[in-house]
């Protein structure tokens, strides 16, 4: 019979990690995906696991742990997902940015994280092609990179060894509940799977799955465009991004960069990262445009403009392609890793916005701990879905 301990919906990086961890823990698992593996955001993104872009506190703690888990998985898995620890560099354009950066580094260092400030001279020693007028930056040597869709394939291949059943090209159309309100089955366009536990890993589509059981999940799509360079010499050897990135990511930091209207209006901040194939990925951009993933010329121009300001050598290097992805955004920038109180057996692992790649291993692990009734690696009260209900109560 089509009956499983757990049905995981969505074969993005989160669903693949959740499926792997559950299968390894001995559960019979079905992974259901409307397209093929990595059909959604996890094949339309960048590829870094950073602690330097997290807020001090739980965000950094679980981010750091997740990188450690990646290191172990890279050793353990027979499927290579191009993991490497290259480090990352934040660059500051102005003295003021440098000052905010120092405060941030001091806070992270006090918590024991290995980040350090570098001055103008050191910056150019680390990355010689950077513009000469930059003031300095933050260097985080532990930051790592991998190929996100290969991570998805790797999780699935390893999970199959523990018996994972994969249902690609199956779109979930409904989730039924028993008389006691508990999850009973998952209905796809092609079959019905019986189960008492569903994990919603549907990324930006998570809210649609929530509606099927009558709950309101506040995950929204936040678009980001990426430009791909031709294969070229190592113009940078690690992820480099402008400190203003931080400022565009968190709306609560008040700081205004001196940038063109095009860059300002499209919420663009310079990021570049190397890939194993010697192409470079350039961004970054954030906008609320619904589910639209078309390429926008203005955004392409703005990203290129900002890129050559920080890395003038790019002027003569070609951009061969552009693509856009949509991040699963939540209002308070913390993922949801939780069972839903009102619907026993319904779990959510989502809303990782721009950190889903980083956070995938730890998320899979903690969902498995929740389902097994074990203590989670971290106190994740703040990642609980019920936080939104409390908010509603406060505001009404």
């Amino acid at each position: 019979m089509n009956s499983f301990d757990v049905v995981v919906v969505g074969a993005g990086i989160i669903g693949c990690s959740v499926s792997y961890h559950l299968s390894k823990a001995g559960y019979s698992v079905a992974l259901v995906e409307k397209g093929d593996i990595a059909h959604g955001t996890s094949s339309r993104c960048d590829a870094v696991a950073l602690i330097c872009d997290k807020k001090p506190g739980i965000d950094t703690e679980i981010g750091f742990k997740s990188i450690q888990l990646y290191k172990e998985l890279a050793k353990e898995f027979s499927f290579d997902f191009e993991f490497s620890t290259r480090g990352s560099l934040y660059v500051c354009e102005t003295e003021q940015e440098l000052e905010i950066a120092s405060g941030y580094v001091a806070e992270q260092r006090a918590d024991g994280y290995d980040m350090k400030m570098v001055d103008q001279k050191e910056l150019l020693e680390i990355e010689p092609y950077l513009a000469k007028d930059l003031k300095g930056g933050i260097w985080t040597e532990v930051d790592s990179t991998m190929n996100p869709y290969l991570v998805c394939f790797a999780f699935v291949e390893e999970a199959k060894k523990y018996g994972l059943k994969l249902f690609t090209h199956h779109e979930v159309k409904g989730v039924t509940k028993g008389p006691d309100g508990r999850v009973q089955s998952v209905i796809t366009d092609r079959t019905t799977l019986h189960t008492n536990r569903v994990v919603n890993c549907a990324g930006v589509w998570a809210a649609k799955l929530g509606q099927m059981v009558g709950i309101d999940i506040p995950i929204q799509p936040r678009k980001g465009m990426v430009l791909i360079s031709e294969k070229t010499k190592p113009v940078v050897s690690q992820k480099v991004h402008e400190f203003g990135y931080m400022l565009s990511k968190f709306e609560d930091i008040k700081y205004k960069r001196n940038v063109s209207k095009l860059v300002e209006e499209n919420n663009i901040a310079f990021t570049i990262e190397p890939t194993e194939a010697d192409n470079f990925l350039l961004g970054g951009h954030r906008a609320f445009k619904g589910y639209d993933i078309s390429s926008e010329n203005d955004v392409i121009r703005g990203i290129a403009e900002r890129a050559i300001r920080f890395l003038p050598i790019l002027k003569d290097i070609s951009c061969i392609r552009a693509y856009a992805g949509i991040r699963p955004w939540v209002p308070d920038h913390l993922p949801i890793v939780s069972e839903v109180e009102e619907v026993p057996g319904f779990y959510i692992a989502g809303g990782h916005e721009g950190d889903g790649i980083s956070m995938a291993p730890i998320t899979g692990r903690m969902i498995t701990q929740l389902i097994s009734g074990e203590e989670t690696d971290f106190n994740i009260d703040r990642l609980n879905f019920s936080r939104y209900k409390q908010l509603e109560r406060v505001s009404s």
Binding site: D36, E305, R309, P312, L314, S318, A322
Partner: protein, 95 residues
Amino acid sequence: MSDEKTIVCRCEEISFQTISDTVREYSCSSREVKLRTRAGMGYCGGRTCRHMIDTIVAGINQEPIADEIQLSYRPPARPLTFGVLGGMQHDNESR
């Protein structure tokens, strides 16, 4: 000529053999073959090899695998330098 030597994607140098082995092993769509092998992800953006990849995949998978996007072309329509895209002249440019 052997399948190993027949190059389907010239930009990324991916052989007929690699592509057909991947389709057989994972019974996957063109899109997944592209992600797994890099075929179609090269300088020309798949303009040269895309049709061939689709044909190979369709030939091996008896029943066509529905995938609304298959191999999509992505803009820009042809490679352009970042200098041209971003505008060569810059107020805040470094010296």
